[in-house]
Amino acid sequence: MFCVAAAVVLLIAGCSSSTEEEEPDKTVALSIICESLMRELDYPEMADVSNRYEVYYSLSDSTVKECRLYVCSSGAYPDELAVFLLNDPTDHEKLKTVINARREYLLETWKSYKPDEIPKIENSKLLEYSGYYFYVISENEEKASEVLGRYFG
């Protein structure tokens, strides 16, 4: 397990100097981390909507270098996991603004729809590791740091 984690960290840490041929490996590595997070935080069945992240977050490829986005497949819960790597690391304030807008939108939507799900959104966390921003909406969001800490050290 430690070896796998170490290999993943190496893949991600080396992303800035990676060649284009290595891109698929990085994506797989990030997927592994996301799957681990969703499993350990006990997410419901999630849909991978990474190729439509612009629909959920007002961002585009000009700002985002890489994104993984998962939402609850059935729409029954607000659980969400979003990961962003920016083209320009100095855009992090822009990213935070967009994530905050997403949070407000979800609060507004779920307030009248299923108010008992609101605490998940209110307690959502934005965590940064090696330039990767993880936005976690889950009832077990406090475990996210522990899981990510294992991968990023």
Partner: protein
């Protein structure tokens, strides 16, 4: 000679009587036939009069060109399964239940015009559909895409607080707008799905009896508006009228992948030409 004349006179009188009798029979036959025809005509015009009352309550402008006829209105019956390509020019409008169709990859996400929590109070105002021209309302997105078929599943989110009359009024307004913008589209109104026994027991606002009543309203609304009614509800309920837990999410209201597979199969086997 006098006897001869008398015999001839009797013969002539006999002939006259015969002619009169024949004339009377002919006239009687004509009168009977005419009466029968008049009676038949009267009865036919009476029937058409009663039929005419039904469509007169439906504004002809609100009927799409492929509209079902009110007099023979029924839920779309089962038919041979269509190919998945049938849905290429279809758009699915709705709330989180419809969002799931795209999230599970059951149908292409670009054909799903739905949003979490969308309901009849917000369907005409909430800007929630991403298009090349920005984020717009469902109706504006429909105007841009101009699909040939529109599937609508709304109401689940409203049964907790919208009265049946209010639901009918708001649904009516939305259907009018869709009909107005897409007069040639085939429009399907989907029934509201049942909830599980646990959901019903845990939240009094969600009763399957009420859902059946709402669905009757939707059926009548579809009939009045000249659009098609899809009785998806029946495909999901168990003998006691509750949502089959095999298809249900833990919240007792939404669907798991297996539920969406059933829903797609239902769509494929309930279409109109």
């Amino acid at each position: 000679m006098g006897k001869q004349l008398s015999a001839k006179g009797r013969q002539k009188r006999k002939q006259r009587i015969t002619i009169w009798v024949l004339l009377i029979i002919i006239v009687a036959a004509v009168v009977v036939s005419a009466t029968a025809i008049l009676l038949k005509f009267g009865s036919d015009s009476g029937e058409s009069g009663s039929v005419a009352q039904s469509p007169s309550s439906v504004p002809s402008s609100s009927l799409s060109s492929s509209a079902p006829q009110p007099a023979e209105f029924a839920a779309v019956p089962e038919s041979d399964a269509v190919d998945i390509g049938y849905f290429d020019d279809a758009v699915f409008v709705g709330d989180s239940l419809t969002v799931g169709l795209g999230n599970y990859g059951i149908l292409p996400a670009e054909n799903i015009y739905a949003d979490i929590g969308l309901n009849l109070d917000t369907i005409l105002t909430k800007q929630c559909i991403q298009t090349t021209g920005g984020t717009v309302t469902v109706l504006d997105a429909l105007k841009l895409k101009k699909p040939s078929k529109v599937y609508i599943m709304l109401g689940s989110n409203g049964i907790a607080w919208i009265t049946p009359e209010n639901l009918a009024e708001k649904y009516n307004a939305f259907l009018d707008k869709v009909n107005q913008e897409l007069p040639d589209a085939t429009i399907y109104v989907e029934s509201i799905l049942p909830v599980t026994a646990a959901k019903q027991a845990g939240d009094a606002r969600y009763s399957n009896e009420a859902i059946v009543e709402y669905n009757e309203l939707l059926f009548n609304l579809a009939k009045e508006k000249g659009v098609y009614y899809l009785d998806c509800h029946t495909a999901f309920k168990m003998a006691d009228g509750t949502l089959n837990t095999e298809y249900a999410e833990q919240d007792g209201m939404h669907l798991k992948r297996t539920g969406y597979e059933v829903l797609l199969e239902f769509f494929k086997t309930h279409t109109v030409k």
